[in-house]
């Protein structure tokens, strides 16, 4: 497996680019890339040339997360002011504005069926689930407080939820928090199942394997990437190689590799069979906040997969994955 640079856009945004996601193709167009930045804008790009398609404004403070609906027609963006804006990709019409105070908004993800949007709720120590038809809050998956903790305890902030991920079958949801714990929920019963141990520093990104609903990859500030069995609680393995925080992780559609972006300014490609980094891309000059593989559905583009990465250096890079 190999990554090869396809295209880079310098100064894609005015400020640090913090988040990236692929919008699946629709009947009328191919897949698009969605990015969000500290400059309060959300931009849409058309690969492989990375032509700017549109710029959405309306967010205040930085845009921390973007997510695209599996249908490819809808997308959501969230900013530091804790608003989630749901919009139509092609028309940029606002469909809904979501907020659930006092819960902040961090990472978001639509479930594979596209019926639920899960939003990491920060200090509320919970994940909020929104119905994508009515845009009503349907559930709050709260991480149980550790036993014996007093309400006055300041540990509340430790379960600060940063990241969410849906399992392949949409039955499980995992979220990562500031203290490194990863919590797994049974979505159907809205029930907390267990914690996954291994990290003791913030888990800013996590992703389920696109081929195995049980396998979960987590990226943490402790510079490690861990492989978990989401059902079995026990870590399958750990991979080290980054020099600083691992900020983002995504799994390749074929399930044989993961890509990570790190504060050490690199993007690494990991071979899951070898359990080792097989390639390190150093095209960015600052923290790499987001990496995203193009989902497998799209066949319109020329051969090979695509990986996009975004960084504090304001650039977007696109790679060919083969």
């Amino acid at each position: 497996m190999k990554l090869a640079g396809v295209k880079s856009v310098e100064r894609a945004h005015e400020e640090s680019v913090w988040t990236v996601a692929w919008i699946p193709p629709t009947d009328s167009r191919s897949a698009l890339i969605l990015t969000g930045s500290l400059d309060e804008t959300v931009k849409i790009w058309r690969p492989d040339e990375l032509d700017p398609v549109g710029t959405n404004t309306g967010h205040c403070l930085g845009v921390v997360s973007v997510a695209a609906h599996p249908s490819g027609s809808l997308a959501a963006s969230a900013s530091l002011d804790s608003f989630v804006r749901v919009f139509d990709v092609d028309s940029n019409a606002t469909i809904a504005t979501l907020e659930a105070p006092p819960s902040e908004v961090w990472q978001m993800q639509f479930n594979p069926k596209g019926t639920i949007l899960a939003v990491a709720g920060g200090g509320s120590a919970s994940v909020k689930l929104w119905d994508t038809a009515t845009w009503q809050l349907i559930d709050t998956l709260a991480i149980p407080r550790p036993e014996g903790s007093k309400p006055s305890d300041k540990t509340g902030s430790k379960k600060f939820v940063l990241s969410v991920a849906w399992s392949l079958d949409g039955r499980r949801l995992a979220c990562g928090s500031m203290d490194g714990t990863v919590s797994v929920f049974d979505v159907a019963r809205a029930k907390f199942l267990h914690h996954l141990e291994g990290h003791s520093m913030p888990v800013r990104s996590l992703v389920f394997s696109p081929v195995d609903a049980r396998v979960l990859f987590t990226a943490s500030d402790d510079t490690h990437v861990m492989l978990h069995d989401a059902e079995g609680r026990s870590p399958i393995g750990a991979m080290s190689g980054h020099a600083s925080w691992v900020l983002s992780i995504d799994a390749s559609p074929d399930g044989t590799a993961v890509a990570t972006g790190s504060s050490d300014r690199t993007v690494k490609l990991w071979d899951l069979n070898m359990r080792a980094a097989v390639q390190t891309m150093s095209s960015h000059s600052d923290q790499v906040w987001g990496v995203a593989f193009r989902p497998s559905g799209d066949t319109s583009s020329r051969g090979g997969g695509r990986l996009a990465s975004v960084s504090d250096d304001r650039n977007i890079s696109l790679y060919n994955y083969s």
């Binding site: 530091l80 804790s82 393995g237 980054h242």
Partner: protein, 1083 residues
């Protein structure tokens, strides 16, 4: 059959005496000789015959009788024979004297000999044979000068006097003038070609000494031809053969030697050589016997020295250093001139070195070096001794010389490299690489230690890949390769599952079960450890962990491996596991200062202050206060403690600071170049407000730290930034913070971002401040104080924009949106505070929310005004545009109709436009004067309070209220500071009062302004200043905490990281050294 005839007195008869059958009792002959008054030459002949037959007593008896006074009287006129008898006696006694070993008897014999010669001289002053005898005597006594003159007298009279020539030759030989000696011997041979072999022996020896070995050999062979039993010649030939050092030569030499030994078993020289031979064949018993015999039979200094040397060497090789030393000493004493026989000095030096007497050893080796200034072995040994004595410079000189003398000496390069490691890593690396190059050229396997040293040096210089290659070469194949390279995935799975994973031996048992050989030779442990350190540095943490576990599995006493695992766990914030591993390390050695220091830092991290202090103290005590790390930690502890106290007790603070300073100074006194101590001292100065001193110190530390690759010291960047900040040099502070972030933290440190934001804030760069804070929030989302600060910065931005004289509608609009954001941020915080997620006081946030809302309303009015203005501007522009359009149309019409009137009409139009413009200007003026009125209105709208007529009193009341609230806010912010890092109070305590002063001052100003202006908006400004002060104090306290934390952490880590490899290295070196000594011994 030879016989002599003694003439019978007064008759023709003679008495025939068969020389073979001389009577046992010499008195019989004497009686005859006396009775018959036989001529004296007969006496001499008979005496000589006795001597030849070995009957020394009879010989003496006859000659003594023959030299008695009666004889003198009787044979008064027979001079020559009388002299001959005396000379014979003299020669006999000088021979006795010569071979006598006891000094007193020797003297006596010489005295007797002298008496006889003197007596002979009295008979005839000029008899040459007497002079020759005297010369021989003097020679025997070792008095070369007088012997020389004695022989000279003879030779002056008779140039062909053979005995004199031989004597003189001997003198010259002993004086070391071999060519002169050779001449003399040759002369003697020419005069007397049939002389005994001994003469040729002299020639041979001279030739030998002159280095003409072939001719020497010929001479010796001739001697042996003439006299097959000539021991000296045999020995000489043997020696020459032995010196060829080749198999057949040595064998032939030994045959000669054996022959000589059989002929005469008491020749010390041959005994020595035989001993030497048996030393090499390892027959130490024979060596001792032979040398002891040699010592018993000879009195000749150099020969004895040789014998002692042989004996010493025998003991030396048997490892009996005491005895060897004694005999070497004896040997040295015998030879007295190092130039002649240097070997015992070398041996003595070695033995003394072995026994640890470096100074004596050094002086002996130096003597060797005087004689052989280019001997690389000696140079190396001297270098080594200097190194042992701590005289590194000298040691380096000698080793460099050794490498120059023999550029193919890998050992010399290795020694040199090892010595250079501490001073000049680059040169050390070069030397070691040279050593490796030499070894590989000669197809030798470089030693594991050498490769390790090279790898460690590469490591230190940051050449990690080269280091890895060397480590791998040093380690070779083994289970470790299986562990890190082939990645037996199935084994690694459950390895990190539990807290106790590092103790889990399952993996290794499994490996063993699967047929892998889990072995780790002891000499490779250190290298493996170093390699693991390297893997850590390469961020292959998992592999490193594996190796550490392997080390612990095989050698559970290896504390450093526990400590590294603890450090790895600590870096991953797994405090609990880390603690456990440290305690395991402490089980190995409860006084291990490194482990204690680590424990201390972990306790600090757990906020266990009292315990931490005790631990640090224990660490310090474990090393008698010599471990600067422990002392530094204590200093840091005191520094933190000074600022920790929530109820700011100046006294306690001062004591703690003083104590901290004392500890830092102590470390500085021990290690002048300790950056961390200097940094600490700088901190204390900064803390006391002596920013100039602090700046000076930090600048120096900063320079030193940036000049070195191995020192990672972000704290000094931050501290220097703080000082610049305190001195008001914001742009420099910003630069330092930014560089620090980029160079050390991969831009991930929110705390430094906070400093940066604070600096921007102070420099009134609101947008930069906000952006920085937003980035910080993004990095540490759960830090709500950052949000609070962001809110404040937006509020401040808005307020400052509103205060501006000129502003565009855009600006005002932005202000409005910023205020909306601020309100949102504050309200969110307020809502969150219900959940007790953070520790802010609700009221305080409410105040901010209220204020922002108020400001927002005010701004909205401004915004409306500005928009109105803009709107009108637009209208005006529209109007102007319409006018132009109209004019255009008209002009076109005109053009078509009245081309000739065009110019005039245009001028008219222009005038009209001008007038219109003026009109608009007037309108604009009107608008400009409006704001004050509208502001007043705003104020009235905004304040629900009844605006009393007495404005003055109202103001006063408000001011008091503000003072009160500001006070309460200070209390609040104390809690807030707490919340920010669960630590303690602000560092710039002195800034607090000054801010307060500022505040009051500003308020005063405001009041005055208000009095003059009656502008209520200034109150608003005053309120703003107030909330500023809040933020102000919050930020520095946070920064203080941070700085402290950064300080301790990186400090600890550094200490930890550094200390381990260094310690490793030192043990390696020790191993090396011992090996080096062993090789020296074998020399």
């Amino acid at each position: 059959m030879a016989s002599v005839y003694i003439p019978v007195q007064n008759s023709e008869e003679e008495v025939r005496v068969v020389l073979d059958q001389l009577p046992r009792d010499a008195s019989d002959i004497l009686d005859i000789l006396k009775a018959e008054q036989a001529p004296l030459d007969l006496w001499l002949i008979i005496a000589r015959e006795y001597f030849k037959q070995g009957k020394v007593e009879q010989f003496k008896q006859i000659l003594e009788e023959g030299s008695s006074p009666e004889i003198d009287e009787y044979y008064g006129d027979v001079r020559y024979e009388r002299i001959a008898i005396l000379n014979a006696l003299g020669a006999y006694h000088s021979y006795l004297g010569k071979i006598e070993t006891k000094q007193r008897e020797k003297e006596e014999q010489f005295i007797l000999a002298t008496q006889y010669y003197n007596k002979a001289s009295r008979i005839d002053m000029h008899e040459p044979s007497t002079w020759v005898g005297k010369g021989q005597l003097l020679l025997a006594k070792g008095d070369l000068e007088q012997a020389f003159s004695a022989f000279k007298i003879v030779l002056d009279g008779d140039r062909t006097n053979v005995p004199a020539l031989l004597g003189q030759g001997c003198v010259e030989f002993n004086r070391g003038r071999y060519s002169q000696a050779l001449d003399l011997y040759k002369r003697a041979l020419r005069v007397y070609p049939n002389c005994p072999g001994a003469v040729r022996l002299g020639i041979g020896l001279c030739r030998y000494k002159m280095g003409q070995f072939d001719k020497a050999l010929m001479a010796f062979q001739r001697v042996v031809q003439l006299d097959p039993e000539n021991v000296e010649a045999l020995v000489a030939m043997a020696v020459m053969d032995l010196h060829t050092s080749q198999g057949p030569g040595v064998r032939r030499g030994m045959e000669y030697m054996q022959r000589a030994f059989e002929i005469y078993p008491y020749c010390a020289m041959s005994l020595n050589y035989l001993a030497n031979h048996f030393f090499y064949t390892g027959q130490h018993f024979l060596v001792e016997q032979l040398t002891e015999t040699a010592l018993a039979v000879t009195n000749h200094g150099p020969t004895k020295a040789h014998s002692f040397y042989n004996l010493a060497r025998s003991y030396h090789s048997k490892g009996d250093y005491e005895k060897a030393g004694l005999y070497y000493m004896a040997s040295v004493k015998e030879s007295s001139k190092p130039k002649d026989f240097i070997l015992p000095y070398y041996g003595l030096g070695q033995v003394q070195l072995k026994l640890g007497d470096y100074r004596s050893s050094l002086s002996n080796f130096e003597k060797v070096l005087e004689v052989h200034p280019e001997n690389s072995e000696t140079l190396k040994v001297i270098g080594h001794i200097h190194a042992q004595l701590g005289q590194t410079e000298k040691a380096l000189d000698f080793l460099r010389k050794a490498t120059k003398v023999d550029p193919r000496d890998a050992q010399a390069f290795q020694d040199l490299g090892e010595l250079l490691i501490s001073s000049d890593t680059g040169a050390a690396l070069d030397a070691l690489k040279n050593a490796r190059g030499i070894l590989s050229k000669s197809n030798e396997q470089p030693s594991v230690e050498l490769l390790n040293d090279i790898a460690v040096l590469h490591f230190d210089r940051g050449e990690l890949e080269l280091a890895e290659r060397s480590f791998r070469e040093a380690l070779g194949d083994g289970i470790w390769k299986t562990l890190i390279d082939s990645r037996p995935g199935s084994y690694a799975i459950s390895s990190t599952a539990s807290v106790h994973w590092y103790k889990d031996k399952q993996l290794f048992h499994q490996l063993e079960k699967d047929g892998f050989l889990v072995e780790l030779p002891w000499r490779k442990v250190s290298i493996l450890f170093n390699f693991a350190r390297l893997l850590e540095e390469l961020h292959k943490t998992q592999d490193a962990v594996m190796l550490y576990r392997l080390i612990i599995y095989k050698y559970s006493e290896y504390a450093d491996a526990y400590l590294r695992l603890a450090a790895i766990a600590k870096a991953q914030n797994k405090i609990h596991s880390s603690m456990e591993m440290v305690s395991d390390a402490l089980k190995v050695n409860e006084k291990c200062p490194t482990a204690l220091a680590m424990l201390g830092s972990l306790e600090l991290k757990k906020d266990d202050w009292v315990k931490a202090k005790e631990t640090f103290r224990a660490a310090s005590e474990a090393t008698d206060g010599k471990d600067s790390y422990a002392t530094l930690s204590l200093g840091n502890w005191n520094y933190f403690a000074a600022l920790r106290n929530e109820k700011r007790a100046p006294k306690l603070e001062a004591t703690h600071l003083e104590k901290a300073k004392e500890l830092y100074s102590k470390v500085l006194a021990q290690h002048h170049a300790n950056l961390y101590a200097a940094n600490g001292a700088g901190l204390v100065f900064a803390e006391k407000g002596q920013f100039d001193v602090a700046k000076e110190i930090f600048t120096q530390v900063h320079e030193a730290a940036s000049g070195s690759i191995s020192v990672q010291m972000p704290d000094v960047w931050i501290n220097l930034g703080h000082v610049y900040f305190a001195l008001g040099n914001y742009s420099l502070a910003v630069k330092l913070y930014q560089n620090c972030l980029r160079n050390f933290f991969y831009n991930t440190d929110a705390q430094v971002l906070l400093y940066l934001a604070r600096t921007h804030y102070e420099a009134e760069q609101w947008q930069d401040c906000k952006k920085t804070l937003l980035k910080a929030i993004h990095l540490t989302p759960s830090n709500y104080s950052l949000r609070f600060n962001a809110g404040v910065s937006m509020q401040k931005f808005s307020a400052s924009t509103l205060q501006k004289e000129k502003r565009t509608a855009d600006e005002v609009r932005r202000t409005v949106s910023e205020l909306t954001n601020a309100v949102r941020v504050f309200s969110q915080l307020s809502a969150a505070s219900n959940l007790r997620i953070h520790g802010f006081d609700e009221k305080k946030i409410e105040t901010h929310v209220g204020y922002c809302k108020h400001l927002l309303e005010a701004a909205k009015v401004h915004c409306e005004a500005a928009e109105r203005e803009e709107h009108q501007n637009r209208q005006r522009q529209e109007l102007a545009r319409q006018v132009t359009v109209a004019e255009d149309a008209r002009r076109k019409a005109e053009e078509q109709r009245k081309l000739q009137l065009e110019r005039r009409k245009q001028e008219d139009e222009l005038k009209r436009v001008m007038q219109q413009e003026q009109h608009f200007e007037r309108i604009k003026e009107q608008w400009k004067s409006n704001p004050s009125g509208s502001k007043r209105k705003d104020r009235l709208h905004a304040d629900d309070e009844d605006v009393s007529h007495d404005k003055r009193r109202r103001k006063g009341g408000k001011r008091r209220k503000k003072d009160k609230s500001s006070k309460s806010r200070y209390e609040i912010l104390e809690e807030e500071a707490d919340m920010i890092d669960d630590h303690e109070e602000g560092e710039y305590d002195e800034t607090n009062p000054s801010y307060q002063e500022n505040l009051q001052h500003e308020e005063r100003e405001n009041v005055q302004d208000a009095e003059g202006n009656n502008s209520p908006e200034l109150f608003v400004a005053a309120g703003l200043e107030d909330s500023d002060a809040d933020e102000e104090t919050a930020a520095p306290s946070a920064s203080a905490t941070r700085r402290r934390r950064a300080w301790s952490e990186s400090d600890e880590e550094e200490g930890q990281v550094k200390s381990s490899p260094v310690r490793e290295k030192s043990t390696e070196n020790q191993v090396e050294r011992e090996e080096g000594e062993r090789t020296n011994d074998e020399d």
